[in-house]
């Protein structure tokens, strides 16, 4: 484990530690209290790629939205680098550029070109001149292999490229944490694996903490330092799996013995929860 940690560029990251402490979220539509998150505690060190794995509709996104500040929590607390995001006396976090979400269906503004999309955050922050922002944006696009698409609208490029633009747009804000909400769900598996490598490449260059929701176990193991396998609704960590495959990784990791062993270890728990979620769904129906 320690040998692995030494190889991680992650070691240098000092910002972006998330502490989720005993968080409960109860939705109350029409008086019927539905518990989405049940006394959930997760500690994510700065610079970790933390994969939140669980069946669809288990409440993972609820947790992500609470960190991002899109809705509040019922009890418990969430801290970012020791600072309270939400907790006692502050039910909802204030959305901020230190925590940027990459959405499931993508949320690039279709009426802005890729370059304008990427420049949006810093333009709003107003700390740099427009020329500086566009210079930085062009540089980051070049690093991410997006040169030549600056003046295209998001609708003009492939969905894989759009996702990359969105990640670059997020990184332009110098976030401490990137929150991914199943961003590659809609992509075919070939595009997906290209996107995974691209994401890791971007990660190695811009080390940030990554909170990544997925229900794809292969994706989770390939990308993550750690898997937090969640129980089906209400959502709560069920098992934590360390992925001790050294970074930087490439696709060859997928066929390694260690990968298969970890897959074996995680699969049982995931399947059990998926079955529970499925049974619960059948009962409701």
């Amino acid at each position: 484990m320690s040998a692995v940690m030494d190889e991680k560029p992650v070691q240098q990251v000092t910002k972006g530690a998330i502490k989720i402490d005993d968080v409960v979220k109860i939705y109350d539509p029409d008086g019927a209290a539905v518990m989405a998150v049940d006394h959930c505690s997760i500690d994510i060190p700065a610079g970790e790629i933390c994969m939140i794995v669980g069946p669809s509709g288990c409440g993972k996104t609820t947790l992500l939205n609470a960190i991002a500040g899109f809705h509040g929590i019922t009890s418990g607390s969430i801290h970012l680098d020791g600072e309270l995001l939400c907790g006692p006396g502050k039910p909802q976090a204030v959305p901020g550029s230190d925590r940027i979400v990459v959405f499931q269906n993508g949320a690039l503004f279709p009426w802005k070109t890729n370059l304008e999309n990427i420049a949006f955050g810093p333009m709003m922050a107003g700390k740099m001149s427009k020329a500086e922002i566009y210079d930085k944006a062009r540089g980051m696009m070049a690093d991410a292999g997006l040169s030549g698409t600056e003046n295209n609208y998001p609708g003009e490029v492939s969905s894989g490229l759009r996702r990359r633009v969105e990640i670059v747009r997020a990184l332009m804000n110098d976030p401490k944490v990137l929150l991914f909400d199943e961003p590659y769900r809609a992509l075919d598996s070939l595009t997906k694996s290209v996107m995974h490598e691209a994401l890791l490449e971007i990660y190695y260059r811009n080390k940030v903490t990554i909170f990544f929701i997925t229900h794809d176990l292969e994706e989770a193991i390939f990308l993550g330092h750690r898997l937090i396998i969640m129980s089906s609704r209400p959502c709560k960590p069920k098992k934590i799996v360390e992925v001790d495959i050294p970074h930087p990784r490439d696709y060859s990791a997928l066929t390694s013995t260690r990968f298969r062993e970890i897959m074996q270890e995680a699969k049982g728990v995931v399947n059990e929860e998926a079955q529970k979620a499925f049974d619960a769904g059948e009962k409701e129906g």
Binding site: S97, A107, W111, K112
Partner: protein, 273 residues
């Protein structure tokens, strides 16, 4: 580049098909209108209509007549006056209803009761309300476009992908930035659609309003294309009725085309789909 594309379009298959269709239509119409003198048998319906050649002759005579062009001018003035007013009032109103729940709750029921009232049912009331006949016609024209524009803007602004708003919020956009940079551009396609539909209704309404209201303040010359048709009917000049009808068709087409071009200019990202 753009011009050569335009010329390509001019000689494209689609254009040729369009021209062929119009030529065949005119030929059938010509035959139908002259069926009695040519064969002794009068074709139903078309046999009563003036022949295209007669219409063209009548039209040629009118091209030099300033009062014919005055009719065009008056109708266009009313359409653009009413339409512009509908845009200026309707777009902010729709946006405001979309972002302010209290205002939506207060105003929307009244709006929905007023909306089904056809603009033409407003003609008598409008004549009573407004000091001049010109304003009455403009008001009725305004109503024609107003409801459609408001509804489209409201629908468009309310169906904005919530994640655009969340993303903008995360990246530090202020409420005003979110309105100006997210809500407004996201609603633009609906504004364009609402305007195009509204423009069509405006032409329908203006012509009917002109027919009902008569010559207008400046006598027959100020009556617009609607009144032009009506006075041709009263005067028994059937060719001119058809000239008036075709004129309205052409005027409506140009208005829509202008809107399409403007809409495309304001929503360049939609061209790429």
């Amino acid at each position: 580049m753009k011009r050569s594309k335009f010329i390509d379009n001019l000689f494209s298959r689609a254009t040729l098909r369009g021209i062929t269709a119009i030529v065949i239509f005119v030929l059938i119409w010509e035959f139908g209108a002259r069926s009695e003198e040519l064969t002794g048998w009068r074709m139903p319906f078309l046999g009563l209509v003036p022949a295209p050649s007669a219409v063209a002759a009548s039209w040629a005579g009118l091209l030099g007549d300033p009062s014919y062009w005055q009719s065009w001018y008056m109708s266009f003035l009313r359409v653009f006056g009413g339409f512009t007013a509908a845009m200026l009032l309707g777009i902010p109103l729709g946006l405001f209803m979309a972002i302010n729940k209290t205002f939506h709750g207060l105003y929307f029921p009244t709006f929905e009761i007023m909306r089904p009232i056809p603009p033409l049912a407003w003609v008598p009331a409008s004549i009573i309300f407004w000091p001049t006949q010109e304003l009455s016609i403009a008001f009725v024209t305004f109503l024609g476009a107003f409801y459609t524009i408001v509804l489209n803007v409201l629908g468009g602004a309310k169906s904005i992908n919530k994640q655009y708003l969340q993303a903008a919020q995360s990246m530090g956009a202020s409420q005003w930035d979110i309105f100006r940079r997210i809500v407004l551009p996201a609603t633009l396609p609906s504004i364009v659609v609402g305007s195009a539909v509204g423009m069509g209704i405006t032409w329908e309404v203006v012509v009917a309003a002109e027919m009902i209201s008569g010559g207008g303040a400046s006598g027959g010359a100020g009556g617009g294309l609607g009144f032009f048709i009506w006075s041709s009917y009263v005067g028994g000049s059937y060719e001119q009725i058809v000239v008036g009808m075709i004129s309205i068709g052409i005027a409506g087409y140009f208005s829509s085309e202008l809107l399409r071009q403007l809409g495309g200019f304001f929503t360049p990202w939609l061209k790429t789909r």
